[in-house]
Symmetry: C2
Subunit: 573 residues, 2 copies
Amino acid sequence: MFGKKSFIPSWTETAPATGSYRSIFKYGDPNHFKHPSSHWYEMMKEEFGMSDADFEKKKDEGNTKVSLNRPPALKPGQIEQLSAIVGNENVSLDDFSRVKFSYGKTTEEMLELRKGLISEVADVVLHPRDKHDVAKIVEYCNGEKIPVTVFAAGSSVNFGCKPAKGGVILVLSTHMNKLLKINELNQTAIVQPGMFGPAYENALNNAPTLFGTRLAYTCGHFPQSFEYSTVGGWIVTLGSGQASTYYGDAYDIVFSQEYVTPAGNFKTLDFPATATGPKINDIMKGSEGTFGILVECTMKIFRYMPQNRQRFGYMFPSWEAAVEASREIMQSEFGKPAIYRISDPEETDRGLKLYGMPGFLDKFLQKKGFMPLKRCLCLGNCEGDADYTKLVKSKIADIVKKHGAINLSGYAVKKWEKTRYTEPYMREDLGDYSIQIDTLEAGVTWDNLHNLHKGVREYIKARPRTMCMTHASHFYPQGTNLYFIFIMKLDDPKEFREFHAGIIDAIQKYGGSLSHHHGVGRLIGPWMDKHLGPEQMAVLRTLKHHFDPNNIMNPGGQLGLDSDEKRKKLLKK
Amino acid sequence: MFGKKSFIPSWTETAPATGSYRSIFKYGDPNHFKHPSSHWYEMMKEEFGMSDADFEKKKDEGNTKVSLNRPPALKPGQIEQLSAIVGNENVSLDDFSRVKFSYGKTTEEMLELRKGLISEVADVVLHPRDKHDVAKIVEYCNGEKIPVTVFAAGSSVNFGCKPAKGGVILVLSTHMNKLLKINELNQTAIVQPGMFGPAYENALNNAPTLFGTRLAYTCGHFPQSFEYSTVGGWIVTLGSGQASTYYGDAYDIVFSQEYVTPAGNFKTLDFPATATGPKINDIMKGSEGTFGILVECTMKIFRYMPQNRQRFGYMFPSWEAAVEASREIMQSEFGKPAIYRISDPEETDRGLKLYGMPGFLDKFLQKKGFMPLKRCLCLGNCEGDADYTKLVKSKIADIVKKHGAINLSGYAVKKWEKTRYTEPYMREDLGDYSIQIDTLEAGVTWDNLHNLHKGVREYIKARPRTMCMTHASHFYPQGTNLYFIFIMKLDDPKEFREFHAGIIDAIQKYGGSLSHHHGVGRLIGPWMDKHLGPEQMAVLRTLKHHFDPNNIMNPGGQLGLDSDEKRKKLLKK
């Protein structure tokens, strides 16, 4: 090969054609691309037994125009009534819109869209202008028994915005996407649910200019999907940001909420704490559109102090040492890091290769006893007051040292920060050559972490030529999450579906929660009965029936509340 | 008066007679007494226009034997069946037990018991041995439609353990009072709900000896009623400990719970976080016995590091300065103090007098501009890692200085710590001379704190000769609580009831939550419809109906879920 120029696949460099399937499944900005690096390319060839020849021709690019040939199932009179509520300019009935606003970003959906296979879609797409529009739509649809499903940023990875029973899709991100007010005394912000993460964070960072506040603020919530996620989506799916160890999960940063439901509209109470019975504010969180529609959120906000950020990176000699040190950090009560992640041996070694670790560093690490497929990367940062972040960083340094870690400086986390939101873009290129990358994740207590990690990894690795990289990235005194990334060559949606279901089975079998922060949607729904048990599922179904007696709110398997025969078949007998 | 020996009332120094009314309403240990100091005595005479002569004869001491003359309303066969479940030795049918285990510690109850007036009582008192007994009792009572109410420590201040419809009282503190297991990896403890605070804390502090753990632990939850409160009570009433600013409220320190309900028995999930829909674990918290019975709690525990505690005390020149500095402390992100309290001017000045502030100190303070009925006391401590507590204390010092505070050292908080649990004992002596001391409290956001403080104080102070002392003692970035202590001369339960209802009205009118940590019970129940609004009350009633379709679980006005005609009359039209 010496002297020969390496082959580089012709990764797609143009925005998908208007109206094409590809324009729906492509992640994020149509004009942004993230191609696999040469390291990535070499790894894929090696792992999947592929050659340059296999990368000469793309497959199932989905470049054709979306065509549905399915007239809306609503009666013309119903469409007229709905149009009268939102105005004609806020109604879409064309094939492309009906598909686009019915699709999230699961691998299954991508595989199907690439082949031009369309499953359930909306009958009509509405773009409500405000919460009053939403209230009128829900009232009308409840009377007519028309299903209502919400779409905002569309980055759901569990069919959470899939209109399984057709009906109306409400796109909340078109108009209801503004930061309405900042209450600086209370450190709260009133936000419309369809506001995207970056717009919200930008407004808070620039609050002194935009809202005349004394200080600048941050939202504290930065999921990997940040650029294509909305504030409302964070709450109703129980998301977690990458800095959740410090700021809390979405659950923790919601002060109050306003909902529209078939059973009535209401705003939960604005108190920092209250001992007046079970908290409706918390009951609504995570309801994934099945109880009603979140139309306004009052969020806790935090002081924006990036100048105080302290970064760190370490290499541990083993996964056990990394976990043990992390537990000690989370239980020692000196404060908490903001971002804090540990990668298991496979993720660490692939990561080192993919990011192009220089050979001398690898040699140095090995000489020091940090061996490939044993060593584990840890990276993170601290946020808050300047003295606090210095203290937390120095305390972490003390603890990891006791557990045999070596200091890698803040370089790795700085590098990681640059790509923290862009990883999903690579799915497009990989998919062009039938390579799928997907993830599942679970909450877990410390005492079950190794058992869950081993059990789920074993299932994934039992599939030939399948990569499995795992990290923990959201920490609590009582445990953490495990985030499993799996990469394989495959293009049959059915084969994917069955393998994927097996991973969920393994998570359940080895005692993880079914999701730590992706939510349930229809993907995990069939496992919910076993997850919660009949008595607790009955509580959720009781609430569902109360809010939505006609089952029009996001019906068809969401949260496992009602039946989804197709996906139920994936459950092990 | 010079040379004349001061008169001292003959405060009661003997334990109440066995079987007497007094033995029921006396707070806490029958052999522990806390008499008003000479400062207290002088203050009462001055405030209420009383003389030594008024303290020569006690009134309504309640020394007679409890006599009920009301046979149990249950059928003999029913009592037999219940006895068969728990064993005859765990059944009480005598008048005294039926009254004792039906009464909490509201002022109204004390006033009535002093006069030998008995309202609703249990028909039978059962002491279940374990959660299986509880399950059998609830199943049987549900079939027979017999009301079931729980009693544990009996320090409720809102009729929360009052069997308004008679029936069965379950005393959970007799047998179900043990720490079952510590999971040191997860930092959790499995506790029976009837375990008293001191026993639980003691077991955790001594965990290395008792449970063979590596470290000692603390529960982090220390309400004023600590000595007469139980772990289960903390959870179902949404209590807050005096160190909640650091450790969190009871709501925050519950990891999972096991419940017995008429609709089935279940244990919530053991995950540090999970995104699988609305959290049943949270839905059950604060249900005050109306959904079912908490039979086992898994609690988060914390490292016990009293050696790291850092105490502080400050005097602010004004209430506004104290509030503003406190907000800055809670929003600055350098960590949190554990105990943190600010007293309003009236509480500060009465406190200084009652604790016997030396004259020279008062002169010094006035000279420095800290004037009586303007100045405000702040005290607290920091807990956690040694370097962390030093940092938090020093950051607080910086902020309070900027707001004009003067350092009083940790002396005041040390003195306060000694009496933190014993204040309620004084109610007995005061009541003997018709002086009542009671409290109401509310959660509030920063932007409404002064409005609420002013509004409620004005109502209380409009009553002639009525003291009102207020502090804030549980802090959040978004706000705090206001705790109103009112002292007055009065012995008519009806007069008390009406004045008290007016305070709740004022709290509602000026935008406080109806309770920050006392819970709702039957006392606040009538205000709940307005507090939550019809849509949100409907959610609670839906859950109630789901868990308890026959309305046997703590029925009769609890949480405002069902009607309580007597107390509803207190509501303003």
